[in-house]
């Protein structure tokens, strides 16, 4: 009734429609939530269970006794704070470098139209299709030659390089859709190209910067194989590697509790980060730049 203007259609079948729609809508949402969050929930629950409950058959879903032992173990018997710090340094610097290099490059591709720009763009797209694992061997050689092993740079440089293509492509499409008159107005006001990028364009592309920045940060935070290969010193390891290397007293013992706790500890900073910046992504920032 409320969706359309009054018509002469029979109204008897109408009320069932919204009801079914609502059911399907919430059903779909529920399915997605369960599908994405159930494994995480399982990890969280496991990390609070005592060892007997973890190993119990049949499964104990909700822990009857809650323990923080697994967490305490992470931070006392292992330098997990240090791992988090390592991950943070590597991911943060990679993200900054990625945005600092990618944004001007994207602007150049979008507006300054360098010769062969289309070709460069195609090349960037091709790189995103390239599986990074194939680079491992070559990178290892380079890192040995440059003596960068057990150095943050051994991770920062590849992470930046790996995430640059995506940053450039996303930022480029943002710059392209910004009204051109805005830049002309800035030029007439006396902004240099660089000042314009910093004072006019960057504030307008903040949502894009935050989005690509978070993607880069997550990718760098979660990266495993490079971190495992290039960093061997215990105090330099990142969270994913450290979590994977949690082992039991023997090969027959798998310490599920500490692993679950490590997973939770490694995920929480990302969740905080995303929640923090989601508020910063102000939608519709460009509304009103040109005619409504």
């Amino acid at each position: 009734m409320s969706t359309t203007a009054p018509t002469h259609q029979p109204t008897t079948t109408k009320p069932s429609r919204p009801w079914l729609q609502t059911l399907l809508f919430w059903g779909a949402i529920g399915a997605i939530v369960v599908f994405s969050l159930a494994p995480i929930l399982w990890q969280v629950l496991t990390s609070f269970k005592v060892n007997e409950d973890i190993a119990a058959i049949p499964n104990i879903y909700l822990p009857r006794r809650i323990t923080f032992d697994h967490y305490i173990e992470l931070f006392t018997r292992r330098p997990f704070l240090r791992y988090i710090l390592n991950s943070f340094i590597v991911a943060f610097i990679s993200t900054l470098a990625c945005l600092a290099i990618g944004t001007p490059a994207a602007y150049a591709l979008a507006r300054l139209r360098p010769p062969g720009g289309k070709l460069i763009q195609l090349g960037i797209l091709l790189i995103t299709l390239f599986p990074s694992i194939l680079l491992l061997q070559g990178l290892l050689e380079i890192i040995q030659a440059t003596h960068l092993a057990n150095n943050y740079l051994a991770l920062i440089v590849p992470y930046t390089a790996m995430n640059l293509p995506l940053t450039i492509l996303v930022m480029r499409s943002f710059f392209v859709q910004l009204p051109r008159d805005l830049e002309d107005a800035a030029k007439i006001d006396g902004y240099s190209t660089w000042q314009m990028l910093v004072h006019i364009l960057t504030p307008l592309t903040l949502p894009a910067l935050v989005t690509t920045g978070i993607l880069t940060f997550i990718a760098a935070w979660n990266e495993f194989i490079f971190a495992l290969t290039f960093i061997t010193e215990e105090t330099m390891k990142t969270i994913p590697v450290a979590s994977a290397q949690i082992g039991g007293a023997s090969v027959f013992e798998i310490p599920y509790g500490p692993i679950a706790a490590a997973t939770v500890v490694g995920t929480i900073p990302l969740v905080i980060l995303v929640l923090l910046f989601q508020q910063q992504i102000v939608q519709g920032l460009t509304a009103g730049a040109v005619k409504g």
């Binding site: 009204p179 008159d181 805005l182 002309d184 107005a185 800035a186 030029k187 007439i188 006001d189 006396g190 902004y191 240099s192 000042q195 006019i200 504030p203 307008l204 519709g284 920032l285 460009t286 509304a287 009103g288 730049a289 040109v290 005619k291 409504g292």
Partner: protein, 359 residues
Amino acid sequence: MAKLELINLNKTFNPKVIPVKDISLTVNDGEFLSLLGPSGCGKSTILRMIAGLETPTRGKVLIGDRDVTHLPPGDRNAAMVFQSYALYPHMNVHDNLAAGLKLKKIPAGEISDRIQSVSRILGLDPLLQRKPGQLSGGQRQRVAVGRALVRDSDVFLLDEPLSNLDALLREHVRAELKQIFDAQQAPVVYVTHDQTEALTLSTKVAVLNNGLLQQLDTPDRIYTHPANQFVAGFVGSPQMNLLQVPCQGTMAIVGDYKVRLANLPSTPPEVVLGIRPEHVRLAKPSDAHVLKGKVFLVENLGMFKLVSIHVKNGEKEPIVLRSLLPPDQDWHQQELELALPLESIHWFDIKTGDSLARP
């Protein structure tokens, strides 16, 4: 103080920019020049070259006798109002106005003085703390004008500033603009494809077509003395009747009728006869040059009726003539007698389109 001079300005070889072939003109202090022309005539390109957003291929731009052809836009002291307003969306109105001044390192006290005086002229006071997204189209337009005024520029450039406003508001803002820029000393260049804007606002109009200047004159003379067939056809609404007619002796043959030619040095075999619909009137018994034709279309424009007639032309296609008649003038028969006053007829060369002498 600061006249604007364009010398043989040319912009070519760039597929992205509409070419400008050869433009020379001067705009003095206190003058309001409109660049009028159809889309694709290069008028915006000229404006962007004055602003420094495009570099001319050849020629010079002089502002106040200073050659600025190769200066960046920020160093030219030219202010521009954009069609899309181009306000900075993340800054409030006050900061939008102040941005250019801050870059010029003007002391804060003077900035606030200038913003105050401009916002008083434009009525922006209640809007200063708002962001462009919270303003209506007309308000944004005023802020855009304010941003130009506050700069205290040597030259003002306006790129179709009214075309995003609805018809009613446009008329209102047009009147406002006229008053604001009448009070300004600096030369104004105004780009438009709207002849009403050009004729009402300007002290001078430059009609452009295909990157070339067609006529540079006062609005009056553009209307009464079009230099060529293009200007005659472009300026004036409804459009001037332009009839291609053969000549015989001192007479032009319009269908089955004859109209006396102007005094020309020599009689061309063919000529273009131009007469504005508002000058074609119902014939009185005393009239000499009368055409008879069948009415085939009457358009009521409110103040006038635009009547189109077919003038018989032997066995050939009839000639179409349009006349703007007052609504109180009625006619009863399908056939209409219209008079062409000789003094209102324009004659154009059939090949070049240039105006031939008027009687």
